[in-house]
Symmetry: C2
Subunit: 318 residues, 2 copies
């Protein structure tokens, strides 16, 4: 007898953690949540479609992890702390081993961030995962993307480019310059299991004046931040924090290209008034340039402007 | 030049109303919302997949309406008032006329309920629409589905069965008993443009002790309410409020079957302690039976138990 929709939800997703601020969780028409007083709510939604956001045949555990991670990353970019998630899962069929792996990937990340799954909808159809995450942030302290000013320093967390290189390896599009499997595994896993920067995002409240997460490529997402802030940005390519695995797998020009234009990093890019820069001490981030008067992102090597092919990932082309 | 994802969102969905409690709306990594003090938050999510939840080729305006309506109905079933929506739209291609119609259907219903679209994600892939709605309810007053007790009266809003009959007409599965196009149009529109019962749901706070919306069929959804409440239910089929268009289009046995087992009504079914029944005066609902000791839903005609084929809509069979 096939699993019913309700049994699916019950078996795999009902007990993904338990928060005291959940009055009614999975299993009713809606979840009932008790947001803390003095806080704003941050709501995000992202969809992953097979063949668009991940290669067909990707590990189910990775899909479960990424579906939550990309949303946690959006919450982090707002400076908020994630609290609750809802999952809409469309599957061609009720495949139990697949669901177990998917749930394992989703739930491990949810537990790590104290996020409770409070609602879901399981439907049959082509594989498609939509997750919504709700987070909380002290009232008025969310980080917008439009608060930057010319002269602000621009930072990025982590080591961008790893995930795009990892995807190129997974898809066989890159002949790696190294045979060190450890480095290659690190890169592949940076695509398959990205780390949302929630603690860093919350730590940027009161310091950063604009923040965005890098889902579509550093240059493209920085351009969105700069455009929203009514200014431009200048990035020094020699300041990009390229990881050792990336530099092992790719020649430097390719590594720089991955770091500037590759998507799927889920690092944070943000602007900070120069006077507040000392407050970043201890946070794992790197200054890569400045916001400037004008429009668009200019890339320099030392003092010279260089050309680069600039385009983020855009699902309908353009 | 093809539309980009961002232009799509900008053009069609940015200005679907404006609420003062939205600090940051569409266009940032996440929406920032200010829930009112003294309230709980209700979060719901539902997905519509082409060919599963609506026939392929359905009018885009209907799809936009229904994608929001099914979620508003879940919020109504919790006794909450809807406030904000997020939309994840997966489309095979950027089809402007389709999007205009979709947005028109979505936004007309959103405005009617003072719901603001605060976030979205547009991706390419097989047509699939996931909407999340957030509602608010005075703290502790949400309507669960597990609060019913044996002896409670069971009510339903509106006239169940119309939508299922309308879908049968749309799919050519029913040869209508009438040629009155007005009646048939009414039934088709009850499927294409269901009316979520938000005002009634909010009016049931403090009166109903359990509530569910009828998405999968009255008998099946009442069974869920009764099971969650640890009891059974007894429905008198002669008390079902069958609409005139339904009785015009279908013979009475077929009409009763549509009303008991047809999905897509998005009416509310709820239980009320007999002592509180007078408080329902003025609400458009009908008593159809009682909660009883035991399990499952029993259907009677007057005093006699009758057999009926009982199965709600379940995407993976079972």
């Amino acid at each position: 007898m096939p699993l019913t929709e309700f049994a699916l939800i019950d078996r795999y997703f009902r007990d993904l953690g338990s928060r005291r601020d959940v009055r009614i969780g999975v299993g009713d028409d809606g979840a009932v949540l008790a947001p803390p007083a003095g806080h704003d709510l941050v709501a995000v939604v992202d969809t992953l479609v097979e063949g668009v956001h991940f290669p067909a045949g990707s590990p189910a555990r990775s899909i479960g992890h990424r579906a939550l991670a990309v949303n946690l990353s959006d919450v982090a970019a707002m400076g908020a702390t994630p609290a609750w998630a809802l999952l809409a899962l469309t599957l061609p069929r009720a495949d139990e081993p697949w669901l177990e792996e998917f749930a394992a990937g989703f739930s491990a990340l949810a537990r790590a961030h104290d996020v409770q799954l409070v609602g879901g909808d399981t439907t049959s159809g082509p594989l498609c995962v939509t997750v919504q995450v709700l987070g909380i942030v002290p009232r008025g302290e969310a980080l917008p993307r439009d608060g930057g000013e010319p002269g602000d320093l621009v930072y990025v967390t982590g080591t961008p480019g790893d995930a795009a290189c990892g995807l190129a390896l997974l898809q066989g599009r890159l002949r790696p310059a190294t045979r060190a499997e450890g480095a290659l595994d690190t890169l592949r896993n940076r695509f398959l299991y990205p780390t949302p920067r929630c603690a860093i995002g919350a730590g940027l409240r009161g310091i950063a004046n604009a923040c965005i997460d890098i889902s579509d490529g550093l240059a493209g997402d920085l351009a969105k931040l700069a455009n929203a802030s009514g200014c431009g940005a200048r990035v020094d390519i020699t300041q990009l924090p390229l990881s050792e695995p990336l530099l092992a797998a790719a020649e430097r020009p390719a590594a720089e290209h991955f770091a500037l234009t590759g998507g799927d990093d889920y690092e944070l890019c943000f602007s900070v008034p120069a006077a507040l820069a000392p407050a970043l001490a201890g946070l794992p981030c790197t200054a890569i340039g400045r916001l400037v008067e004008g429009r668009g992102v200019t890339v320099c090597r030392g003092g010279s402007v260089i050309e680069f092919s600039h385009s983020g990932f855009d699902h309908f082309g353009g």
